[in-house]
Subunit: 174 residues, 2 copies
């Protein structure tokens, strides 16, 4: 779940202009997922250096790195806390009695490496090649209108019309 | 958990003589895992044709195939019901709004294939190359004594001394 939500936050932020801020409430509304979970995940993404938080009443989060600098394998390694198909992969080592001699560990370890190596081939930029499609489904282009009928009104944010530049609907530069 | 327990049951049964029967209670005691979970998992393993059940008071389970005929990738594909690092991998498809255009699915799908392809290289026999080490840790050689002090006494089974041939402590033939 952490990994899923992490990747969704990154895709969401990457679909906006690089400097544009998003709120957890807004992302929560768009994906229909719990604000509490998103808050925990965005805290972790912040600690990992992938996103940055601008505090204050008109604050929010945005990518701290260019999308091509965010490696998907690295994000998954960092955010996923349950690669443990079997007990002996737990950080504690588990308590399976055959663990010291079991050949399964080696097989599953090789398989996990193969999995992550595929993800290492991707950056966030590769997931944003079709930003315009993403923007449509995330209803990001609808922000263009100064009058929001707001599927998820953001208290404290939306009393004002959106900041200038909001309507330039392109992927981050570089 | 299903996959973990499946593989452990198969390794346990494969560490015994091919014809020898084991009970869920015995396996539960050896691994220290829930009898209820093991019963569900062994039911699935039976449905999949990997193990067979001999009914009756002295009944139990054993491998239905030679260890080299049991492919680990196939077992994991069959038993694992949660490859869903992200919601859109659920059989229902989930309800993530960007699912129709999201490039992440392709990346994670390729990664999962790479994972399973590694496991396809192994059969149960490859995990049993050190059967004697497994038998020691699973305390299978201790059955040799007709007087069991029994870490997990099996009501209904152990009133009688172990069947003849119990003491031949080798890996399945073929």
């Amino acid at each position: 779940m952490y990994t899923d939500f992490s990747l969704r936050i990154l895709i969401y932020l990457g679909s906006k202009n690089r400097s544009e801020l998003s709120t957890i409430q807004e992302i929560s509304g768009k994906y229909g997922i719990s604000k509490n979970h998103l808050m925990k995940v965005s805290h972790e993404l912040g600690k990992a250096g992938y996103i940055e938080t601008v505090r204050g009443r008109r604050g929010g989060i945005r990518l701290a790195l260019a999308p091509e600098q965010i490696n998907i394998g690295a994000v998954v390694r960092r955010m996923e806390d349950d690669f443990y198909l079997v007990e002996c992969f737990q950080p504690s080592g588990g308590r399976c009695p055959i663990s010291p001699v079991c050949r399964l560990k080696g097989a599953l370890g090789r398989a996990l490496q193969a999995y992550l190596q595929v993800l290492d081939e991707y950056t966030l930029q590769d997931l944003l090649v079709n930003t315009e499609d993403l923007r449509v489904l995330l209803q990001l282009n609808e922000n263009i209108s100064p009058v929001r009928t707001a599927d998820a009104p953001l208290p404290g944010y939306e009393r004002h019309s959106p900041p200038a530049g909001h309507e330039t609907a392109e992927a981050p530069p570089e």
